[in-house]
């Protein structure tokens, strides 16, 4: 249907993943196979799943832990964010972006996870962050975030 938004934002409502300060969500787009964070997350093996969820827990409760997640200092990537885990010696990443989608709750921060990548070298590939930034600035993605969060009352959702 013309005008239909190809992007959907799925809030992670389990495991107290939305508290009064922070929340997690996945960006989904059937037309763009590179937006694969949700499908990768749903297929994780137990050990990887536990590693990543531990990182989610830490971030959601305000802990700092660069081994498990971090953002970037450079201005152009300051809203990008990554969660990390390992399977054997293989490093894995879920890249996404941070935003403050609720006017009534300006301190509430949502991390929208976008894409998965494997990583073994130190530097992040710039194209991955560019993709994340492009999506972050995309009006349709913003609209999808608004739709997903319109009834959200941080701290009250279980």
């Amino acid at each position: 249907m013309a005008g239909e938004n190809p992007y959907v934002v799925a809030l992670v409502k389990e495991q107290d993943a939305i508290n009064k300060r922070r929340g997690l969500a996945f960006l989904i787009c059937e037309n763009d196979k590179k937006i694969d964070a949700k499908s990768v997350f749903d297929r994780l093996k137990l050990k990887a799943d536990q590693q990543l969820r531990t990182g989610f827990d830490f971030w959601l409760t305000g802990k700092t832990n660069t081994k498990r997640f971090h953002g970037w200092n450079e201005a152009e990537n300051r809203d990008c964010f990554v969660f990390k885990w390992k399977e054997g010696s293989q490093g894995h990443r879920l890249y996404g972006f941070l935003c403050h989608p609720l006017l009534e709750y300006p301190n509430f921060q949502l991390c929208v996870l976008v894409l998965h990548a494997t990583k073994n070298r130190r530097e992040t590939e710039p194209r991955l962050l560019k993709k994340v930034n492009d999506l972050r600035a995309n009006d349709l993605v913003r609209r999808a975030i608004t739709v997903a969060t319109k009834d959200l009352k941080p701290g009250e959702t279980k």
Binding site: K13, E14, Q15, D16, D49, Q50, Q51, R53, T54, D57, F58, T61, K63, N65, K67, K86, K158
Partner: protein
């Protein structure tokens, strides 16, 4: 919906082990200790250190945890707590939060220090030295409810007599239960009416 650590005991164990190992790793970094040095202290290989820190199997024994902590000059304690979440919807409280609270409280090492901290935190007045059999009249104002109740009623509600134990502190829990409300602060102590309980 329950937190993911409610899926199995192993999941819960993984999560709290990850908490603890992160603390050890932060300690290694803060002491600028190399993994090789730690391995030497523990009499294990460097690879074993990396394996433990990066890849917790979830079956790390308490003995191993203590050995690692002691090698880093740390101690370990085990705390069972009730956070009002019996169905585990929110997951475990991060051990760093317990540690931070303890450190921010001046690292109390005995129960007298804890009682003093509790009194200071809740503004609970300390009573003068009395015997366990004395009755002390204490005025308590429930600060949070005062605007609703009116100060006169609030004072009448909370101005009660209690036998005070030799701990010499107002047993604030008694006030709460007696009034059917939570007491937020003790704002005044009237000890002019000390009498001996026979």
């Amino acid at each position: 919906m329950a937190h993911w650590t409610e899926r199995s005991t192993d999941a819960f164990l993984y999560r709290i082990t990850a908490d603890l190992l992160d603390q050890l790793e932060e300690r290694i970094q803060s002491k600028s200790l190399s993994k090789a040095e730690l391995a030497k202290k523990l009499g294990v290989s460097k690879g074993r250190i990396s394996q433990i820190l990066n890849n917790p199997k979830g079956n790390l024994s308490l003995k191993t945890i203590i050995r690692y902590a002691r090698a880093l000059g740390m101690k370990v304690t085990i705390v069972a707590y009730d956070d009002g979440d019996p169905d585990n919807q929110r997951g475990p409280i991060n051990s760093d939060i317990f540690r931070a609270c303890w450190e921010n409280s001046g690292q109390p090492a005995d129960f007298w220090s804890v009682q003093e901290l509790q009194c200071a935190a809740t503004n609970v007045a300390m009573l003068p030295a009395i015997s366990p059999t004395q009755i002390v009249k204490v005025s308590v104002v429930h600060v949070g409810q005062e605007p609703l109740l009116g100060s006169t009623r609030a004072n009448r509600l909370y101005e009660q007599q209690f036998a005070v134990s030799s701990a010499r502190r107002v047993p604030e829990i008694l006030f709460s239960k007696s009034a059917g409300l939570e007491t937020e602060a003790v704002t005044g102590v009237d000890n002019s009416n000390l009498t001996t309980f026979h």
